[in-house]
Amino acid sequence: MTDRTAPTGGRPAPDRVPDVTVIVIAYNDAANLPTAVESVLTQTLHNLEVLIIDDASTDSTPQVADGLAASRDRVRAVHLPVNSGGCSRPRNVGLDRARAPHVMFLDSDDTFERHACKNLLVAAERTGADVVSGLCHRVNLTTGASRPWWGVLYRQRAVYEGIEAFPDQLYDTTSTNKLYRRDFLDDNGLRFPEGYHYEDLLFTTEVYCTARRIAVIPNLVYRWNFVDRADEPSISNRRAEITNFRDRLAIHRKIDAYLEARGLEQLEIVKDRKFIRHDLRLYLNDLAKRDPDYQREFLDMARDYLRTVDPRALQISGTVERIGAFMILQGDLTETLKVVDYLQRKGTLSTDLYREGGRVYWTRKYLDTPDGRSVLDITALGLQHLPLDRLVLYNRGTQWDVRGSTLALGGVITVPLNRLTAADRLDLWLVFRNRKSGRQHTVPVTQWQLDGARLRWSTAADVDRTVIVTTTRQPIWDVSVRVTRGAESVSAPVNVLTLGVDGARLVVHPRRSVLLGNRLECHTTGIGNLALRLVNTSRAGVGAARALRRLRRTRAVVLAAQIRTRLRGKETKTKFYRLAGRLPVRKGTVVFESHLGKQYSDSPKYIYQAMVAAGGGYRAVWSYTGNPAAWPTEAVLVRRESWRYYYELARAEFWVDNQGFPRQFRKRAGTTYLQTWHGTPLKTMGFDEPGLAALPPAQQREHAAMIERWDALVVPSDYFIDTFVRAYRYSGPLLRVGYPRNDPLVTGNDPGTVKELRERLHLPDNRKIVLYAPTFRDTQHHIRARFQLRLDLQALAEALGEEYYFLIRTHYLDRVSIPATHRPLAANLSKHHDVTELMLASDVLITDYSSILFDYANLRRPMIFFTYDYEDYLRTRGTYFDLASTVPGPQVATTAEVIDCLRNLDDIQIRFRERYEQFHARFCQYDTGTASTTIVRQYLPGPRA
């Protein structure tokens, strides 16, 4: 792109008043200053000026600043006579010298987004706000990764009449991603506090509290850069020094005094809550790594400060955060660190949970102190009901040794609430798990002993024999101990924070090639766990590896790889398929596939099971993708798109699936294709949907050809015939037998089966189980966002914690993650293959437009329709019937309403009984629980000898 800042285009005449003054402060940063200034001069807003304030730098910064001022006519430079030691003084000097009606701040190591000034200025002029704030990104210059800073505040445009209208905005305390009206700052005497670090915190608080109107725009405006492990971190990032924490507390005290003087009590609570959740956490996360003096001093200071905090701020923070504050107030370092373990290390339980009188407490200690009993009560978290495999056990490494290729390790696992006892048959394994591929290598732990709440173990492993090195892409292995009891198992990463293992090397000889590396080096991960990393220590090896990499890029090798890919490609395989199709059909062979090979589930699964139950004679072949562990070992398993897959399809007598075998498979004469389609349609589809109807004729014909392959279609209701069958213009035979996948919902709907199923799925048996299955949001897919969980888990936990347990099941194309701290409340079972089992195990369903509602109706259990985006969704996708007047349950739009519904399930069942019956009769018409057996008996010819 051409340089748009060339002075030839300089429209603003020198004497014209600029729209914005950008105050760039610099101290000993000659290297970055030009980049920062350039990011202002290349703004799409041209009518602005840059004011560089050099804080008496001792490097070449003054010369660089003067050079910029001399060569660029929109730049001025000011030099302070003595260094001020902070950001406040230079910014205040800049404010005094600014000419424009609006001002912005920029640090010399950061940059503006290209349209930042214009977007902020236009927003200021349109809204008349005193301050306009835009999105800031934290940019890791080492990795290039960029993450929104308090992005949740910047989802959409907003105008607030004063900070009371939206106190959460207080969380964003950076002064640099904002544009200020200069009059507003001058008239109210708003300046940065000199002599303090973290000056932004006080300044922005004062600005927010003084502004009559605050505007927010969703556009990125500021890039806040940082470098990983810099030798000299910037001021605000030197958390390892204790004075740094002292500075932060000092500024918070000033903020407190300010808010108190103005009588802004509510805001003070919001601010204190942010202090506990954000500021304090920053220091706590690293506390375990600090030396004892630091830890002691830190704890004293934190305790003194927390004593001044409004107790109400503690009330509104989360349960475990509250315990953290409690422990700091007790001045108890050990217990504080245990809270940090839980919060930072994905729910690691290094504390000794204590049970008394049906309640569960964080620890036994402090139960007799005034607030102790209520603060430490964590019964609501539900840890006591959590299945073993969802707990994260604390495993403190106690000894280690590295000799040759042998790694000797020992440690102590903390067992919470006697979840493991001496009476159990336990097995312990040392597990090396590749971080990229997830591949695991295990060796048995030779010595262990369970002693009350402590499981002591030690073992030695020859890593050269155990860890199989096959790749150089992500040669890192995490080390943990897995404890198994029957079918249950739980993992405990080995914590080596205090052992100092870093740098120790194990000798290995990778099977693929020694060029990959010859040593596994121990290191401690960011949260203190042991990991091994492949390194190369021999010079010959390093050179050879480099040569190999270079060779791989040569044209001949690249070409050879292309030819290889081609030979293994779809076209070659399709030719092979046609050839194999000339061999006779293998009678009795049935190829099954569910959801394009992604799952062992749905109707094909239940037809398969019925077929196996009917007796021998068949040869079942299952297509799979990914890890085949979930598929039955009795069947012949073929990876989808493999040579074998093409071969089996070419010769099978039956194909059974629920979506569609790839289009290149033209069905031969002797094969029969049974289509069991994966659900009753709610949204318009096929030729009723614009997407297909508007395709060019050639593609429409191709689509029709895929459907013509079907020899029979399973039908659950006449409604299905009116919609799906018509929309896809299918004219072959219909099997009016109901969905095989719904058989267990009809036949297994009894307490015994459900209890058994819950045990198998490790679900708590004493809580109501809520299945949340939202549908695929195609508009979200387009913007490549993750599925946004719109149920507020925190609110659910607080309202329903001890009574309910949530299973989250997203569409298989969506992904969602649940924060570790909510694990006692909810599990993400999106990867579980068979949703039928989840339905059967649940007590109530929450869904929106997913076709799961038709299947669930077989259970006659309550359904809640959480259709928060009803209008939007219906506008983008048409439906076959009016949702609001047909669905057999309440339609709600907020978490609060969901909670209300869950508390009144009986009411719902009464209110919707009539409609439920109509719904069931219409959509579950043929579901009688015998679909799979009928199909096997009547449709798949009986077993042959």
Partner: protein, 405 residues
Amino acid sequence: MTAQATAEETGAPTMAVGGRRRNLFLVANNLEEMGGLQRVAHNLAATFAAAGHNVELIGIMPHPSALSYAPGDTYRTTVLYGQPAPPAWRPRTLRDRLNLRSRRRERHRRRLRRAAVDRLSERFRSVPDGIVICTQAFAMDWVHEADTSHLRVITQSHESYEASRGLTPASRGSARYTRMRRTYRDVDLFLLLTQHDADMFEREGFNNVGVLHNPLTMYPDRRSDLSAKTVINVGRYHEQKNQRALIDAFALVWRRHPDWRLQLVGEGPLQSALREQVDALGLGAAVSVGGPTTEVQARLLASSIFAMSSDFEGLPLVLAEAMACGVPCVSFDCAPGIREIIADGADGLVVPPRDTAALAGAICRLIEDADLRQRMGAAARRNIRRFAPVEILRQWHEVFDLVER
């Protein structure tokens, strides 16, 4: 620097039409192709020239079809290439790579391209300052490479966000979005036709979006008296316009009102298929599937209802044109742009997409209630003034002021 600033200042006060006289470049893929965009570009150029600006309309390549819009002599036109350039070389196989003729042709193509960029830079350098308005993403490739350091650059997308992302069947596989990510994000302003599209692009990290409608090309002195028993549709006979649904809907209407007629105006690959459909439905006397006409305005003025049954649209200006003629519109709610033109229930009717029965129902409602028809027709003509050229020109001047700040 100073010399140029002075030149500009001396130029400023003498030209008072619609603000300061400006040097404007409009850049389009070509200047001839029969299609909405080229018509829009010529119109815009003429409008700007009439407002006193110094306008040049630049097409990247000549187009084989004959020029269907007579360019006025109020603005200059330039075409960068002498003849359509060959498509870029995309070798697939080893044999492709070894093909020397292709390689030679590719070198030649690159040379032509460099020459075109140079020509463009040269045109840009002919003025000391000004604004480039690039109306299409393809053309932006050349603008992006040319020297625009002394100019401000505005880009436009006349396609909906969904079409730009290749999410609609017709646009699947299009390279437009890749192009836009590369060349549209840094320009001074990126203009879209609807607020919805602007919001969607903003969510994708385009921080320079704005909204500006295309101006109406007609605002006749009189309005239709809405007495003719004619329903009209103007548009290409293409899958996307889906006139099939309109014919189906009219079949339902016709059963109740056999004295009404449907008139389709346009041309395209589906013309004969639509005729067959009409015959199959036995509507031969009631529905005419006509060819293109230069008399669109007269046809609209002789109609009483405009009906549209498209699958996808951007901001369909043809609706606005019908409204300018005082003809109330009925349309599928097939794009956010529909509701930016029609105020449902006030100056027209919007029905759910692909709901043929609802479309028929809405047409019948307007047929049966002459009073409603008159009221909506009058409201339509009044409301659509916001698309009138003078109003759009005022907005363009605001845009110019904004990018020049």
